[in-house]
Amino acid sequence: MDRVDNVLLPELDGPVPTALPRTLGLLSLALGVGALVAPGPLARLAGVDDSPAAGAAIPAVGARELVHAVGLLSGRRPAAWTWTMVAGDALDLTLLGRAMADRRGERRRRLTLATAAVAGIAALDVAAAIAVGRARRARARVIRMEIAVTVNRSPTEAYRFWRNMENLPRFMAHLESVHADDLRRSHWTARGPAGHRVEWDAEIIDDQPNKSITWRSLPGTRVPNAGRVAFVPAPGDRGTEVRVQLRYAPPAGALGRVVAKLFGEEPEQQVRDDLRRFKQVLETGEVVRSEGSPNGISVRQQAMQRPAQPLPASRR
């Protein structure tokens, strides 16, 4: 995950549960220190102070908890560490179950309480492990693109056209409309297959006149997405290098499949086509059409070209 994603798609930071693994790490730290420093009182608390093995087992559990604590608090590979915690919990519950089998009375009561506490922690660990895994998969689904085109227009002209977000559907094929609510916020509607529509609100989060524009969908969007476009003077007085970075995070499930179809099998190629249309609109005034490609550039359409002959009246 590069830094740009964190800037462009803060939604993705949300589901990455850093708080829960940290809390669990602190708990492990306390348990581990307790088990190493005061194994005797801990054995009494758990009702196993009569066992000769407890004197060795409890510091070992403590050492393991310290390792977990270091791992979780380091913040690295939280998914792996939370699942290791779950494995440790299972081991502890097994030991406690064995101890319970041959104890009666007050010791059994204490063992039951200890088992309940460990089971509660185990439940938390499982929840954390699942949440971390889900967030990781969401991040893995994020599609990132960086594509550029050279346009024979000044950075100012290119910036101005793009800055009016309502112009975007003129060259972004998957967009049906963009409505600017005000200078920052806009409402986007994308056209999907079979009449499906995906809508979201977006805001411009950084605007450097004649240089760059950065926007992202508002939190809560079902398809978090974000983009940045930079307008850099092309060397040799050849207009402007228009450099686009795009990120979107398709959800899993049915909506995800709609979004996937929206962008086709080659999302990069589609964005490349979008930029080609942007160039056409800026340089020639509109999207260039031929009889074989009456809707203009489209890689998907190239597979199903019509013959190069005038359109029938019904298709005009």
């Binding site: 024979n152 005034g285 260039v288 031929s290 009889e291 005038p310 009246a313």
Partner: protein
């Protein structure tokens, strides 16, 4: 309207299709008066150009009368008589502004596939496959002309169709082939191919001041045109070794510049050489038969120019890179940037410096287009150039 459409390998047919309409604000609709079959149409006819679809209207050499213009076309009006350049060019991208119209950056809506094959996309061309845009061609009663404010040239009434339609492709292409040779006084120019482009390249080389022009082909009637109309010397490669003859004619120097006006469907006097590339082409392990190009490179004077205007589509085998590199040769090439040449060449025609219509051998109505393709393909009846009248 009636239009001549590609129906498969070795098959064209005049079919009924809808009339064209304005699709872009800079379009014009032209009612065609004269259109021509180009040698490069035979590459399509033979199925060597990929991305053709059944029903594609062919033809990229045409002229006629403007009948409708889009709202952004201010230089033309209905009734104007125009000839239309074969490359479609927007006039506003960096390439167009540098005069490189045939590599216009905007006119190919199917640039994505062209890029996969060629690295970058060239311009769209009328009636020349979906790789080059999927544009309907001009072997029809009407054509839609995109960027009509850039391409079409108004033709004065006193210039007949036979001459003016040559400005759509073959005359500018031949002229550019000669221009790329950068001809200096005293130079000897050799031209492979005595088809329309080769003959007009030879004629242009004369206009541009070549000392001698040598044309190489295998059809006596075409070589006769080169001698009689261009004043060129000729070599029939079926009867003479081209390299030996050129060395002899130039006292061992080789021609100062060599123009390849043959392209991807060359023939070779040596049956084994021909069979080798023909077989590779038939099995699609090579897309071209580049005999002329190989020979031009070997023949050319060290430090000379090899000018390639014959059409190529894909990949060439056995390219004599050693000769090319060690002898400091220069290759210049390109689909013709027709828009750059139409006006100056029209003026040369008006001044009587050249009548490019000397290459025309056949005239027939559009409905006979399939016959025209057959005659041209088989080189029957001394066929050099077929004009279709509408």
């Amino acid at each position: 309207m009636k239009a001549n459409a590609w129906m498969g390998t070795d098959s064209v047919k005049v079919i009924d299709v809808p009339d064209p309409t304005i699709m872009n604000a800079r379009d014009a609709i032209v009612r065609i008066s004269t259109t021509a079959i180009c040698g490069s149409d035979l590459h399509l006819y033979h199925g060597y150009i990929p991305a053709m679809r059944k029903g594609d209207i062919l033809g990229h050499e045409f002229m006629g009368e403007v009948v409708e213009v889009g709202p952004q076309v201010r230089n033309l009006k209905p009734g104007d008589r125009v000839v239309v350049p074969f490359p479609i060019a927007c006039g506003h991208c960096s390439s167009c502004q540098r005069g490189l119209y045939s590599v216009c950056e905007n006119s190919n809506p199917n640039a994505g596939i062209a890029e996969k094959i060629m690295g970058h996309s060239p311009a769209g061309i009328f009636g020349y496959s979906h790789l080059l845009g999927g544009y309907a061609g001009g072997q029809a009663e009407y054509a839609r002309v995109p960027f009509a404010d850039v391409g079409p040239l108004k033709v004065p009434d006193d210039i007949p169709d036979d001459q003016a339609v040559m400005l759509a492709d073959v005359f500018p292409t031949g002229y550019m082939g000669a221009e790329m040779c950068d001809i200096k006084p005293g130079q000897v120019i050799a031209v492979w191919g005595a088809g329309p482009v080769g003959l007009l390249a030879a004629a242009s080389a004369q206009i541009l001041g070549a000392e001698r022009v040598i044309v190489i082909d295998r059809f006596p009637y075409r070589l006769r045109l080169a001698e009689e109309h261009v004043g060129a010397e000729t070599i029939n490669y079926e009867h003479a070794d081209v390299l030996d003859t050129l060395n002899e004619m130039t006292a061992g120097r080789g021609p100062d510049a060599c123009i390849d006006a043959v392209g991807l469907e060359g023939h070779h006097g040596n049956a084994a050489m021909y069979a080798y590339d023909r077989a590779k082409q038939a099995t699609r392990t090579e897309t071209e038969r580049p005999f002329a190009l190989r020979e031009a490179i070997l023949a050319c004077r060290s430090g000379g120019v090899v000018s390639v205007v014959g059409a190529y589509g894909g990949f060439v085998d056995k390219f004599p890179m050693g000769a090319f590199m060690n002898r400091s040769l220069i290759m210049r090439t390109g689909q013709c940037h027709v828009q750059r040449y139409t006006r100056p060449l029209l003026e040369r025609i008006q001044r009587g410096e050249i009548d490019p219509s000397f290459i025309v051998s056949h005239r027939m109505p559009l409905r006979d287009a399939p016959k025209g393709y057959k005659i041209f393909q088989k080189k029957q009846d001394d066929c050099t150039k077929v004009l279709l009248t509408v």
